[in-house]
């Protein structure tokens, strides 16, 4: 079986390979540059701590995405707990580099958290629905359902 074990890439190579993708996903989930950086840094620390060996690059990519999404969900939950006790604003505004990016984040902000990861991985990162389901630990029909709900919500918002 061909695997990546024979030549373990160093952290710089791994960073170059995945950092942009993971940061995009984390920024879309968290809508905060600092939180997204923290999430991605945590993911790389986890990678360095566990030093996992993968069968191939697809499994490696899926692992990085899964751990990033889970870390973002954890951070969103603790953000909710913080908000219960403090009256701070939910997100620090992301400095939009362009009008299109600002619009993109507005669309993402209107999608409920439960469906957002499916939209990010499938519609923005280009993963297949099966890959998205695998990363999120849900069934294929669950992923389809979440995507449909997100689309319905956006359609409703447009019509209002």
């Amino acid at each position: 079986m061909d695997n990546l074990a024979s030549r373990k890439p160093n952290i710089e190579e791994i960073y170059k390979l995945y950092a942009d993708m993971l940061y995009r996903v984390a920024l879309s989930e968290l809508q905060s540059d600092m939180d997204a950086q923290d999430a991605v840094q945590d993911v790389f620390i986890k990678y360095m701590s566990h030093n996992p060996v993968f069968k191939d690059s697809e499994h490696e990519k899926a692992w990085f995405l899964r751990v990033t999404v889970n870390r973002c969900h954890d951070m969103l939950r603790s953000r909710k707990v913080r908000l219960k006790f403090h009256s701070e604003s939910e997100t620090e505004p992301v400095n939009p580099a362009s009008k299109a990016r600002q619009e993109l984040f507005e669309v993402l902000a209107s999608i409920p958290e439960k469906y957002k990861s499916t939209v990010i991985l499938h519609c923005l990162e280009g993963l297949s629905l099966q890959e998205t389901a695998d990363v999120l630990g849900i069934t294929l029909s669950g992923a389809k359902m979440r995507l449909k709900r997100a689309r319905d919500i956006l359609k409703e918002e447009k019509n209002v």
Binding site: M1, A19, F44, K55, V69, D74, A97, R101
Partner: protein, 174 residues
Amino acid sequence: MFNKSQLEAYSNIEAPQELYEKVLSSKPKKSKIYLLPLAASLAACLILIFGIGFRSNFDSEIFLNGQLVNTDTVLIGELAPESKADMRALPTLKILVEITLTEKTKVTVSSGVLILENGERVNSVTFKDDVSFFWEVESKAELTESTMTLNSFSGKQEIILTQYDDGSYTAEIN
């Protein structure tokens, strides 16, 4: 859902330079040490003492969810937070097992079932060649160990799957 310019704006997002510096200056965390109950530790010692005689140059590679399992603990995955909160949402872990084999080998699991390519669900099965199947075990957000044993003419190998209370699960060759 998104127009062309929004998709383009998304793909143009790059990780900031300061993140690169933060990551490269980060130190790996030491893994948590869980204190097993005395009886379990004693049992592990006995397995080690008696098992060592049966160990051999087991010339096979075992992948769980695409990750090579070896004598170091490897993180196989984590339950999604919603699954941690509601175990009914994901009552089982379904782990893809891929094994390269050079001889007839019997695979047995201490808990859960093996789901073969034809859909058959068994606790024990013998293979002659490279094989892939699913190992389905009850999902528990608490410290739980399950074992998969590979028995062949040249020896025996045990893979310990450990589930932790934070929803993560690891594997290692005993």
